[in-house]
Amino acid sequence: MKYRIIVLLTAVTTLFMSSCIKDEALNTEADIETASIPHGDQVLQVKPSIGDDRVVFRLKRFSGSYLQAPEFTLTGGATIEPASGTEQDFFTPKQYKVTSQDGVWSKTYTVSFIIDDVADFYSTFENAEVVEAKNPTGFYHQFFELTTNNQKKYDWATANQGYNMLAETLLEPGEKLEPSVYPTVQVNGYIGKGVKMTTKSTGPLGGMFGSPLAAGNLFVGNFELSFPAINSTRFGLPYNAKKAPVALKGFFKYKAGEKFVVNTAPSQLTTDTWDAYAILFEKSTNGNDYLSGTHAFKDARMVSVARIGKKEQIETNEWTAFEIPFSFVNGNSFDPTKEYMYTIVFSSSREGDLFNGAVGSTLYIDEVELVVDQTK
């Protein structure tokens, strides 16, 4: 009897509450949700990458001009200026302003078209810009390379944007928000500038957000903030060479942090060490082009893999060369008629993808080259 009353009252209350729902407010967000160009399947290497304030189209080849009329879909009700479908000369990047449906909020995107048909896989890390994040405030490095006509391309990504969510809450007394407090930062390298990666604590909130540790990382691909955090790293860019890669070369320095912490058991390690690997994988014909952060070297699209071994995973204060050979996996071989993607990944904690590592582990990397088979 009593339970029947509860059921009845629950129903009445729920009904009553539903009737209290007010009219929906106008949308306040101002995002570019999708971007496309006519015949994109034919002329683009990959789907356009859409970041927080940046859209990059990668063209397969130069067609004689940079006149393009990109089309955008936006948050419901939002507007964009210049309008979607407006033809412009993208010899230099263009700015687009998206305004929310309620008119209160807006965001400016930089839209660029880059042509990257040269198979140059040598990275010097000489160029980094400071990203000035607004919400939340933050200042961190983003590496870029210049194409032949001086366009910035952001082949190397980091998880700095993810760290920035909590960066302000993680400052030690006396520290201020500047690129050096982030996990990945440009510093002096073996030649000119290089990259420093540091495994960082993410504090009490990091655990709640599913990332109890932030290994410093650097990878070829895109970073798109997601939760669980591991889904944010999207490995891979189009592979333009007509031969298979044979080795990954570069220079490093490494110092492991003191206390190795296992957040995801079991761990294969008892002390921290660094990681470097490269993967050549087939471009999927549908769905996601990239390899997700959870690939664990088990993705069926993998063709060839190079991964650092115990011999090189040493601690050293001196710049030390490494060269890791590629080996074919899954019984695959290189087929020049197929479309491939590649990624290169560095991490200051080898099990950083499992959030296992030692706070303070520091990896320096410079002069990285993906060596491609030059023989006929």
């Binding site: 509450m17 209290c20 007010k22 306040t28 939340p136 920035n164 909590l166 809450t169």
Partner: protein
């Protein structure tokens, strides 16, 4: 479970002492045994901690579960004349609910220790409230008929124990502003929140109800309570609207 045992123990203590008092009062007449009714009652509550007028950020209530929230009260009614009386009491009560809602652009904060992330959340929110109060009602009682009493007045509550927590899932948080960094909660993953430490320790409100006497000793009763205060402390800013305790109680009582 311990809490329920605790409440039951207090209940029996009150009943026993009330009976003892009654027996003691046989010998002579005084304020406490003249035109005085002593009673004990039990009720269950259904209701919630809810905003007064839903903000437009709440888009849909997917489910609402009041749970089985229990209260026990001992009270004394002094009849001033044939119609009017004054009742004071003491009760232990649980107030709580579990809701699942869909929200859009809902300003919230995810806090742990001294770190917090603030932003606008769109997606699912599950909220779990369970507060235990020690409450003193002060009520006027009006005898409508031989078998019916109406009562109404104020109550004052002290928080004994509380939970106000939950999690967000299947949605995203825009950090700081609606155009801020977008943190997406995919694949049914969730981030928890816990505002238990921010629940106000003292509450007061109003109570209105009626009771029906089945016979000399037993009665059925029902009332509504409405809390005047926001259930959260004054400086709490993780939710940008105030929530009030609004409950319907249904129960039975025993008069000595």
């Amino acid at each position: 479970m311990n809490r329920i045992l605790y409440i039951v123990a207090v209940f029996f203590t009150v009943v026993t002492s009330a009976q003892a008092q009654e027996r003691a009062g046989d010998k002579n007449t005084n304020f406490f045994n003249t035109n005085m009714d002593y009673g004990v009652q039990a009720h269950f509550s259904i209701g919630g901690s809810a905003p007064l007028g839903f903000p437009n950020t709440i888009r849909k209530i997917d489910s609402f579960n009041p749970g089985f929230k229990f209260g026990l009260e001992a009270n004394a009614t002094k009849w001033l004349d044939k119609k009017w009386g004054v009742r004071v009491g003491l009760r232990f009560e649980e107030k709580g609910m579990k809701t699942k809602a869909k929200v859009k652009n809902y300003l919230t904060e995810i806090v742990k220790d001294n770190s917090k992330v603030r932003g606008y959340y769109t997606g699912r929110v599950e909220t779990n409230v369970r507060n235990t109060y020690l409450t003193a009602p002060v009520l006027a009682v009006y005898k409508l008929a031989d078998t019916w009493n109406l009562y109404g007045g104020l109550y004052f509550s002290a928080l004994l124990d509380n939970t106000f927590d939950g999690y967000v899932s299947d949605g995203y948080l825009r950090q700081d502003t609606p155009t801020g960094a977008k943190i997406t909660f995919e694949e049914g993953s969730q981030a928890g929140y816990d505002f238990s430490d921010n629940v106000r320790k003292f509450q007061w409100g109003t109570q209105l109800g009626a009771e029906w006497k089945m016979n000399k000793h037993f009665k059925l009763l029902s009332d509504v309570t409405y809390g005047f205060n926001n259930i959260f402390e004054k400086d709490f800013s993780s939710i940008d609207f105030s929530m009030h305790n609004i409950y319907l109680n249904v129960g039975f009582g025993y008069s000595f």
